[in-house]
Protein backbone atom coordinates (compact mmCIF):
# COMPACT_ATOMS: atom_id res chain seq x y z
CA UNK A 1 0.00 0.00 0.00
CA UNK A 2 2.77 2.47 0.95
CA UNK A 3 4.57 1.62 -2.28
CA UNK A 4 1.52 2.46 -4.38
CA UNK A 5 0.99 5.76 -2.51
CA UNK A 6 4.67 6.55 -3.02
CA UNK A 7 4.40 5.73 -6.73
CA UNK A 8 1.32 7.95 -7.04
CA UNK A 9 2.99 10.90 -5.23
CA UNK A 10 6.25 10.58 -7.12
CA UNK A 11 4.44 10.74 -10.48
CA UNK A 12 2.25 13.77 -9.81
CA UNK A 13 2.92 16.32 -12.59
CA UNK A 14 3.99 19.03 -10.11
CA UNK A 15 6.39 16.65 -8.33
CA UNK A 16 7.87 15.44 -11.63
CA UNK A 17 8.42 19.04 -12.64
CA UNK A 18 9.97 19.99 -9.28
CA UNK A 19 12.26 16.96 -9.43
CA UNK A 20 13.52 17.78 -12.89
CA UNK A 21 13.66 21.61 -12.78
CA UNK A 22 17.21 22.93 -12.58
CA UNK A 23 16.86 25.26 -9.61
CA UNK A 24 13.75 24.04 -7.78
CA UNK A 25 15.36 21.37 -5.57
CA UNK A 26 17.72 23.67 -3.59
CA UNK A 27 14.79 26.00 -2.82
CA UNK A 28 12.72 23.07 -1.54
CA UNK A 29 15.69 22.10 0.65
CA UNK A 30 15.94 25.71 1.81
CA UNK A 31 12.26 25.57 2.83
CA UNK A 32 12.84 22.36 4.77
CA UNK A 33 16.04 23.42 6.52
CA UNK A 34 14.88 27.01 7.09
CA UNK A 35 11.72 25.72 8.77
CA UNK A 36 13.73 23.20 10.77
CA UNK A 37 16.05 25.96 11.99
CA UNK A 38 13.10 27.79 13.51
CA UNK A 39 11.37 24.64 14.76
CA UNK A 40 14.31 22.75 16.27
CA UNK A 41 16.00 25.79 17.81
CA UNK A 42 12.81 27.04 19.47
CA UNK A 43 12.09 23.53 20.80
CA UNK A 44 15.62 23.18 22.13
CA UNK A 45 15.89 26.60 23.80
CA UNK A 46 12.66 25.91 25.69
CA UNK A 47 13.93 22.47 26.74
CA UNK A 48 17.23 23.98 27.87
CA UNK A 49 15.37 26.64 29.87
CA UNK A 50 13.21 23.96 31.49
CA UNK A 51 16.42 22.15 32.42
CA UNK A 52 17.35 25.28 34.40
CA UNK A 53 19.80 27.14 32.15
CA UNK A 54 19.49 30.96 31.92
CA UNK A 55 17.09 31.11 34.85
CA UNK A 56 17.92 34.70 35.83
CA UNK A 57 16.44 36.05 32.58
CA UNK A 58 13.05 34.91 31.24
CA UNK A 59 10.78 32.40 32.96
CA UNK A 60 9.99 29.37 30.76
CA UNK A 61 6.42 30.64 30.36
CA UNK A 62 7.58 34.05 29.10
CA UNK A 63 10.06 32.37 26.75
CA UNK A 64 7.31 30.10 25.44
CA UNK A 65 4.99 33.08 24.88
CA UNK A 66 7.74 34.73 22.79
CA UNK A 67 8.60 31.76 20.61
CA UNK A 68 5.26 29.94 20.42
CA UNK A 69 3.97 31.28 17.08
CA UNK A 70 7.33 31.00 15.28
CA UNK A 71 7.86 27.53 16.68
CA UNK A 72 4.74 26.27 14.88
CA UNK A 73 5.34 28.44 11.81
CA UNK A 74 8.76 26.74 11.63
CA UNK A 75 7.14 23.30 11.74
CA UNK A 76 4.65 24.26 9.03
CA UNK A 77 7.47 25.47 6.75
CA UNK A 78 9.62 22.40 7.53
CA UNK A 79 6.76 19.98 6.84
CA UNK A 80 5.88 21.73 3.57
CA UNK A 81 9.48 21.41 2.36
CA UNK A 82 9.93 17.93 3.87
CA UNK A 83 6.78 16.52 2.31
CA UNK A 84 7.78 17.89 -1.11
CA UNK A 85 11.26 16.34 -0.75
CA UNK A 86 9.61 13.07 0.27
CA UNK A 87 7.31 13.12 -2.77
CA UNK A 88 10.24 13.62 -5.17
CA UNK A 89 11.98 10.48 -3.87
CA UNK A 90 9.00 8.69 -2.28
CA UNK A 91 9.76 5.25 -3.75
CA UNK A 92 13.17 5.19 -2.07
CA UNK A 93 12.08 6.77 1.21
CA UNK A 94 9.25 4.33 2.04
CA UNK A 95 11.66 1.36 2.03
CA UNK A 96 14.49 3.21 3.82
CA UNK A 97 14.90 1.85 7.42
CA UNK A 98 16.28 5.13 8.81
CA UNK A 99 13.39 7.08 7.26
CA UNK A 100 10.90 4.57 8.68
CA UNK A 101 12.41 4.86 12.19
CA UNK A 102 12.35 8.66 11.90
CA UNK A 103 8.79 9.05 10.61
CA UNK A 104 6.91 6.17 12.25
CA UNK A 105 8.64 5.98 15.62
CA UNK A 106 10.79 8.91 16.71
CA UNK A 107 8.94 11.86 15.15
CA UNK A 108 5.50 11.03 16.63
CA UNK A 109 7.00 10.53 20.11
CA UNK A 110 9.02 13.77 19.84
CA UNK A 111 6.01 15.72 18.57
CA UNK A 112 3.65 14.42 21.27
CA UNK A 113 6.29 15.12 23.92
CA UNK A 114 6.69 18.65 22.55
CA UNK A 115 2.93 19.33 22.64
CA UNK A 116 2.78 18.03 26.22
CA UNK A 117 5.82 20.08 27.26
CA UNK A 118 4.37 23.28 25.72
CA UNK A 119 1.02 22.65 27.38
CA UNK A 120 2.56 21.99 30.81
CA UNK A 121 5.12 24.83 30.56
CA UNK A 122 2.32 27.32 31.26
CA UNK A 123 2.02 25.60 34.65
CA UNK A 124 5.66 24.55 35.29
CA UNK A 125 7.24 27.69 33.91
CA UNK A 126 5.71 30.49 35.98
CA UNK A 127 8.73 30.85 38.25
CA UNK A 128 12.47 31.03 37.65
CA UNK A 129 13.11 27.60 39.14
CA UNK A 130 11.45 24.69 37.33
CA UNK A 131 10.22 21.53 39.08
CA UNK A 132 12.02 18.19 38.62
CA UNK A 133 9.26 16.90 36.32
CA UNK A 134 9.80 19.87 33.97
CA UNK A 135 13.53 19.15 33.89
CA UNK A 136 12.85 15.48 33.14
CA UNK A 137 10.49 16.25 30.26
CA UNK A 138 12.74 19.01 28.92
CA UNK A 139 15.67 16.58 28.90
CA UNK A 140 13.57 13.83 27.31
CA UNK A 141 12.31 16.11 24.54
CA UNK A 142 15.86 17.28 23.84
CA UNK A 143 16.95 13.65 23.56
CA UNK A 144 14.04 12.87 21.22
CA UNK A 145 14.90 15.68 18.79
CA UNK A 146 18.54 14.58 18.77
CA UNK A 147 17.32 11.07 17.95
CA UNK A 148 15.10 12.36 15.11
CA UNK A 149 18.06 14.27 13.68
CA UNK A 150 20.32 11.21 13.99
CA UNK A 151 17.80 9.05 12.11
CA UNK A 152 17.51 11.75 9.41
CA UNK A 153 21.31 11.85 9.04
CA UNK A 154 21.37 8.05 8.54
CA UNK A 155 18.84 8.12 5.66
CA UNK A 156 21.49 8.49 2.90
CA UNK A 157 23.44 5.52 4.36
CA UNK A 158 20.73 3.05 3.23
Amino acid sequence: MMASIAHYLQNLPLILWLGSADHAYPFIQLTHFGGLSLWVSTCIILDIRLLGFGKDLLTPKKLLDTIFVWNWVGLLIAVTGGFTLFCIGAGGYVVNPAFQVKIYMLLPVALLTHIFVQWKTREWGQTEETPAIAKAFGGFELLMWMSVMTAAIWIPNF
Binding site: L58, D65, N157
Partner: protein
Protein backbone atom coordinates in the same frame (compact mmCIF):
# COMPACT_ATOMS: atom_id res chain seq x y z
CA UNK B 1 46.10 21.72 -3.27
CA UNK B 2 49.12 20.30 -1.45
CA UNK B 3 47.62 21.50 1.83
CA UNK B 4 44.25 19.91 1.08
CA UNK B 5 45.95 16.61 0.13
CA UNK B 6 47.95 16.71 3.37
CA UNK B 7 44.81 17.45 5.38
CA UNK B 8 42.79 14.69 3.73
CA UNK B 9 45.49 12.10 4.44
CA UNK B 10 46.05 12.85 8.11
CA UNK B 11 45.48 9.52 9.92
CA UNK B 12 42.76 10.84 12.24
CA UNK B 13 40.94 12.51 9.31
CA UNK B 14 41.02 9.24 7.31
CA UNK B 15 39.74 7.34 10.37
CA UNK B 16 36.96 9.86 11.05
CA UNK B 17 35.79 10.12 7.44
CA UNK B 18 35.75 6.35 6.97
CA UNK B 19 33.80 5.61 10.14
CA UNK B 20 30.04 5.94 9.54
CA UNK B 21 29.17 6.32 13.23
CA UNK B 22 31.82 8.95 13.96
CA UNK B 23 31.04 11.04 10.87
CA UNK B 24 27.31 10.82 11.68
CA UNK B 25 28.04 12.36 15.10
CA UNK B 26 29.93 15.15 13.32
CA UNK B 27 26.94 15.67 11.00
CA UNK B 28 24.59 15.72 14.02
CA UNK B 29 26.59 18.52 15.64
CA UNK B 30 26.76 20.36 12.32
CA UNK B 31 22.98 20.35 11.91
CA UNK B 32 22.38 21.07 15.59
CA UNK B 33 24.77 24.01 15.39
CA UNK B 34 23.12 25.37 12.25
CA UNK B 35 19.66 25.13 13.75
CA UNK B 36 20.78 26.87 16.93
CA UNK B 37 22.60 29.68 15.11
CA UNK B 38 19.99 30.35 12.44
CA UNK B 39 16.97 29.80 14.71
CA UNK B 40 18.09 31.92 17.66
CA UNK B 41 19.37 34.83 15.54
CA UNK B 42 16.17 34.75 13.47
CA UNK B 43 13.99 34.95 16.61
CA UNK B 44 15.95 37.99 17.87
CA UNK B 45 15.79 39.56 14.38
CA UNK B 46 12.04 38.93 14.22
CA UNK B 47 11.67 40.56 17.64
CA UNK B 48 13.58 43.64 16.36
CA UNK B 49 11.26 43.71 13.33
CA UNK B 50 8.27 43.62 15.69
CA UNK B 51 7.10 40.23 14.40
CA UNK B 52 7.80 38.10 17.50
CA UNK B 53 7.29 38.53 21.23
CA UNK B 54 6.30 42.19 21.03
CA UNK B 55 5.45 42.29 24.72
CA UNK B 56 8.82 40.81 25.64
CA UNK B 57 11.87 42.88 26.55
CA UNK B 58 14.30 42.71 23.59
CA UNK B 59 17.44 42.84 25.73
CA UNK B 60 16.31 40.02 28.03
CA UNK B 61 15.28 37.86 25.07
CA UNK B 62 18.61 38.44 23.33
CA UNK B 63 20.55 37.65 26.50
CA UNK B 64 18.54 34.42 26.82
CA UNK B 65 19.25 33.33 23.24
CA UNK B 66 22.72 34.62 22.32
CA UNK B 67 24.71 32.13 24.47
CA UNK B 68 23.07 29.35 22.44
CA UNK B 69 23.84 31.19 19.20
CA UNK B 70 27.53 31.16 20.11
CA UNK B 71 27.43 27.54 21.22
CA UNK B 72 25.78 26.70 17.89
CA UNK B 73 28.47 28.65 16.08
CA UNK B 74 31.15 26.64 17.90
CA UNK B 75 29.43 23.36 16.90
CA UNK B 76 29.08 24.48 13.26
CA UNK B 77 32.68 25.65 12.97
CA UNK B 78 34.34 22.61 14.57
CA UNK B 79 32.12 20.02 12.84
CA UNK B 80 32.32 21.95 9.55
CA UNK B 81 36.11 21.88 9.67
CA UNK B 82 36.08 18.12 10.37
CA UNK B 83 33.77 17.54 7.39
CA UNK B 84 35.88 19.83 5.22
CA UNK B 85 39.11 18.05 6.21
CA UNK B 86 37.95 14.71 4.86
CA UNK B 87 37.23 16.06 1.37
CA UNK B 88 39.40 19.18 1.31
CA UNK B 89 40.57 18.46 -2.24
CA UNK B 90 36.97 18.65 -3.46
CA UNK B 91 35.90 21.57 -1.27
CA UNK B 92 38.76 23.85 -2.30
CA UNK B 93 37.87 24.22 -6.00
CA UNK B 94 34.07 24.31 -5.36
CA UNK B 95 33.02 27.96 -5.85
CA UNK B 96 29.69 27.48 -4.09
CA UNK B 97 31.55 26.36 -0.93
CA UNK B 98 33.40 29.69 -0.81
CA UNK B 99 30.14 31.55 -1.47
CA UNK B 100 28.72 29.74 1.56
CA UNK B 101 31.73 30.63 3.72
CA UNK B 102 31.57 34.25 2.53
CA UNK B 103 27.85 34.61 3.32
CA UNK B 104 28.45 32.84 6.65
CA UNK B 105 31.14 35.34 7.66
CA UNK B 106 29.03 38.35 6.64
CA UNK B 107 26.03 36.89 8.51
CA UNK B 108 28.18 36.52 11.65
CA UNK B 109 29.30 40.15 11.32
CA UNK B 110 25.66 41.25 11.15
CA UNK B 111 24.91 39.01 14.14
CA UNK B 112 27.64 40.72 16.15
CA UNK B 113 26.32 44.17 15.11
CA UNK B 114 22.86 43.15 16.34
CA UNK B 115 24.21 41.72 19.58
CA UNK B 116 26.28 44.81 20.37
CA UNK B 117 23.39 47.20 19.70
CA UNK B 118 20.52 45.30 21.30
CA UNK B 119 20.90 46.93 24.77
CA UNK B 120 20.76 50.42 23.15
CA UNK B 121 17.84 49.59 20.84
CA UNK B 122 16.02 47.95 23.74
CA UNK B 123 16.21 51.12 25.86
CA UNK B 124 14.70 53.33 23.13
CA UNK B 125 11.02 54.22 23.00
CA UNK B 126 10.77 52.53 19.62
CA UNK B 127 13.25 50.43 17.67
CA UNK B 128 14.83 52.59 14.90
CA UNK B 129 14.34 51.78 11.21
CA UNK B 130 18.08 51.23 10.76
CA UNK B 131 17.94 48.44 13.37
CA UNK B 132 15.04 46.84 11.53
CA UNK B 133 16.96 47.04 8.25
CA UNK B 134 19.96 45.31 9.88
CA UNK B 135 17.70 42.61 11.32
CA UNK B 136 16.09 42.01 7.93
CA UNK B 137 19.47 41.76 6.19
CA UNK B 138 20.62 39.36 8.93
CA UNK B 139 17.64 37.03 8.26
CA UNK B 140 18.23 37.17 4.48
CA UNK B 141 21.92 36.36 4.99
CA UNK B 142 21.26 33.33 7.21
CA UNK B 143 18.70 31.90 4.80
CA UNK B 144 21.01 32.70 1.89
CA UNK B 145 23.69 30.75 3.71
CA UNK B 146 21.35 27.74 3.98
CA UNK B 147 20.66 28.00 0.23
CA UNK B 148 24.40 27.98 -0.52
CA UNK B 149 24.89 25.09 1.95
CA UNK B 150 22.35 22.81 0.27
CA UNK B 151 24.10 23.40 -3.06
CA UNK B 152 27.51 22.31 -1.72
CA UNK B 153 26.90 18.49 -1.85
CA UNK B 154 26.22 18.78 -5.60
CA UNK B 155 29.89 19.68 -6.02
CA UNK B 156 31.35 17.25 -3.48
CA UNK B 157 31.08 13.69 -4.81
CA UNK B 158 31.59 11.87 -1.51
CA UNK B 159 28.97 13.53 0.74
Amino acid sequence: MAFSRWLEHLPWVVELTGNAVQISIVWLFHFLGYFLVVGTTTIVDLRILGLAGKGQNLDKLAKQLFPWTWLGLLFVTVSGFLMFAGYAGQFFPAGVFWVKIGVFVVAIIFGVIVQRNVPRWSSMASIPSSAKAIALISIILWFGMILASVEVPAFIACI
